[in-house]
């Protein structure tokens, strides 16, 4: 209930804010497992949450953790969310427990937003930094309210952290992007179903889509061909290309092959290239798939056309001169 109230009061500036209705729904959660980390001094209950249709949608954990080496900052108390593949998706604050910076200054709106961005950046500098890299010990800053000093932030680190909350940024990044991901993913696998597969394939996070695609064998691809075609062309180039490389081509049903070929115009440049490379480069695909490319000729650029025609000639398919000369 407190989240509902908090959402209503503060929704304009919190990164993970939801409408009241959504929050209501997001409350349908149940305990999944307990996450323990000695390094982070954590022992936390992780909950799996469901949408209105009762379909698993995300993980949630309310966490109270120390982030500092010294006494200059308060514990972080937040509710974190991850998707079913274990990718961090956002956090909510808890009333009366704002995040604080150096000197106990409370986070401003921009600080919350920046923290959310930092935690979502899987390629953050924080990945390769060690805690010792965070503070330039040669520069000391005098705290106004506490009788202590702390180091300044080196220039190279500044962009990767919320200024004045360097340890929080570092610790939280390693928490939400750390070993917990594997445990969340493992739990999802223990509950795996076609429903979960669909939720993950339709995710807007490419890594979550990839997680689901990696669970699929050739039979799964055949069985879910229509679902796969529905995301092929609407996903990131990386995922589109991955699907094209993994599909068990050709399908025995030529109608399904046609459906596959008809996705070509929807693709991005990278996956188009992988598409052309595959259907012109694999002997077993030439008889059934290459002729279908005739339907796509108007969508081919000169390079693609040259590859198709070269392959057409190489494999002696009929009608070369009428089509390409």
């Amino acid at each position: 209930m407190r989240h509902v109230l908090f959402g209503l009061l503060f929704f304009t500036f919190l990164p993970g804010f939801r409408t009241a209705d959504e929050l209501e729904n997001s409350q349908k959660c149940r305990k999944a497992f307990v996450y323990k980390s000695e390094a982070l001094a954590l022992n936390e209950t992780i909950e799996l949450c469901f949408d209105t249709a009762g379909i698993p949608s995300k993980y949630k954990a309310e966490v109270n953790m120390p982030v500092c080496d010294d006494t200059l900052c308060a514990n972080v108390v937040l509710v974190f969310y991850w998707d079913l593949a274990g990718h961090y998706t956002g956090f909510d604050t808890i009333p009366g427990k704002p995040l604080t910076k150096f000197d106990h200054q409370e986070f401003a709106k921009e600080d919350y937003q920046k923290m959310d961005q930092i935690l979502k950046d899987r390629n953050s500098m924080l990945r390769i930094l060690e805690k010792g890299d965070l503070i330039d010990k040669t520069v000391k800053m005098k705290a106004k309210t506490v009788d202590a000093v702390t180091g300044a932030t080196p220039a190279t680190v500044k962009n990767a952290v919320v200024e004045g909350a360097v340890y929080s940024s570092f610790t939280l990044w390693h928490f939400v992007n750390g070993t917990i991901q594997n445990e969340l993913a493992a739990y999802t696998m223990s509950q795996y179903s076609d429903t979960i597969l669909r939720v993950m394939l339709e995710s807007r996070n490419y890594e979550t889509q990839l997680f689901a695609l990696r669970q699929m064998n050739d039979d799964d691809f055949r069985q879910h061909a229509n679902l796969i075609f529905s995301i092929l062309g609407h996903s990131s180039p990386l995922i589109n290309a991955y699907i094209i490389a993994k599909l068990p081509l050709p399908f025995s049903n030529q109608e399904i092959n046609k459906k596959f070929i008809s996705r070509f115009p929807e693709l991005d440049d990278y996956s188009k290239s992988i598409f052309i490379d595959r259907i012109t480069g694999e002997d077993s695909l030439i008889p059934s798939l290459l002729p279908l490319m005739i339907s796509q000729i108007e969508h081919l650029d000169n390079r693609q056309l040259a590859l198709i025609s070269a392959s057409w000639r190489k494999y002696g398919l009929p009608g070369y001169s009428e089509l390409f000369d």
Partner: protein
Amino acid sequence: MMMMKKIFVAAFIMLIGIAEINAQSILIEAESFTDKGGWVVDPQFVEQMGSPYLLAHGMGKPVKDASTAFSVRKPGLYYVWVRTKNWVPGNWDAPGRFKLLVDGQKLERTLGLNPEWNWEFAGEIQLGKGTKQISLQDLTGFEGRCDAIYLTMDESEKIPSEMAGLKKWRSNKLGEPIVPEKNEKYDLVVVGGGIAGCAASIAAAEQGLKVALIHDRPVLGGNASGEIRVHTLGIYGKFERIIKMLDTEHYPNGSPAALKEDQRRMDNVRQYKNISLYLNYRAYDADARHSKINSVDARHTSTGELIRFEAPLFVDCTGDGWIGYWAGAEYSYGREASSKYGEDWDAHGLLWSPETPDKMVMGSSVLWRSENAGKKVGFPEVPWALDVANNYAAKNGEWQWEFTRNDLSQIDDAEHIRDHMFRAIYGSFYNFKNPTAPSSNTDQALTDTPDWQKKQEHADSLQLQWVSYLLGKRESRRLIGDHIYTFNDVRDNTRFEDSVVFENRAVDVHYQINLLDADQPDFLSEAMFYNTRQYIVPYRSLYSKNIDNLFMAGRNFSSSHIGLGGPRVMLTTGQMGAAVGVAASLCIKYNVNPRAIYASHLEEYLGLIESQK
């Protein structure tokens, strides 16, 4: 005399049926012009389009005319053809238009209109006997290009346009010998004067070898040179003294501070009496028989002079692995499947290494910068650039300005890649100069007005100061050695018995940002870093597996795509060069091939390396 050498005037008798026509023709290579004005010689794409050419690289301001003299022996009416290219065909005026003036007379047709490299008809002109002047007049400042000019009295002459026929025809017209008549002999021939090639030359010269260093530019340094301006990164390993003669300060990439470093580097290399420096010579062939290279042939990028270099040992520091390629060395290109060498890394998954192999190697960069002119300066309309830049706006470009595509080869499509970067740069700069004003009926327009004006004033005063026209390449062919360096060698911090190159820098592999979102610009990349303890490249990655007397140093050393991610920076490639130079001296001493240094002289070799500090 030089003039006669540079411009070859040929007379030909052609037989057509039984009739004998005595026609005169004159072929002038644009790169041989004695006064290049503001045009620059571009030799980067010789293997694809056939010749170095002149480029009107004016960053939007027409460059000064290039001109040269030529001699007419037979007076009469000449038909004038120019080999050129419209580098961005489309529904706009071709960006690189220019005119030709002969004997002070402007020829009728505007040039630079063909969609591909080909001969364009410039017009006809009556010429008397004697010395005449010919000039190229740039009309746009936007990368017009001229390969050659051909004047013929035969109206119906067919000039070859396809590569093989053109090559033969050109050699014939220029009266080039089939093999170079000039022959030079050295102990070691190093091809490519980037940091690796320079270090190899110095290390070998210090051990007493007579070295030829062949480089296709007027300055040494490759990606570190003032022409490309990437700063050197990495550590010095065992070769601090040598590499410090060649490296750069850690200024921002693209900084003009690179020019000062060029001078220092040139002076340092020139002090070695036994390094013969062949600047502006580009290698074009290697003669190899029975797995051994006998000679490398090179052509001067302006005069066309040919030289054959013979040596018992060669070093391929060309970056694109050309010497190995011509000699038949095994090489790889593209990204291996992560399973091939076990190079996957969960942190970045598919961005790091694909599950199925592809050709999406790291891209090439074109660095650029603008400056405050202190007054309002305009910038031309660039409609031909905007479908690359879209609405991206920028005023300079660092290493992230990088382009690669699965269907483009960093070698065969290099001109397309460079030109794509030109469009990205000119379009983004145009956008920066012409920011879109916030719509006047929004609150934002009211509150943003002072900022908005400031932004416009800042943009108004900017002008392009420098745009490279040379590609700063990261990855293409990787020649295969006895050891293929992979991510496992980094991850495991493998200690080799033939450890010669040492590095601490995080492995850094790039991906194009539009891989994750197709709406993002296709000319920008991001880096993924793998932090690690010291990693080591073994000597066995620095000589060819199947060409017995070929070393390689630099980005074309023996590695996988991911393996290249760490050691590809220039202090590391400098270490490779120096290690190879030292090894070459032992090869000469014992009259053996590179592999024998590992097999039979390793202790002496490592001792010699230790003594380099």
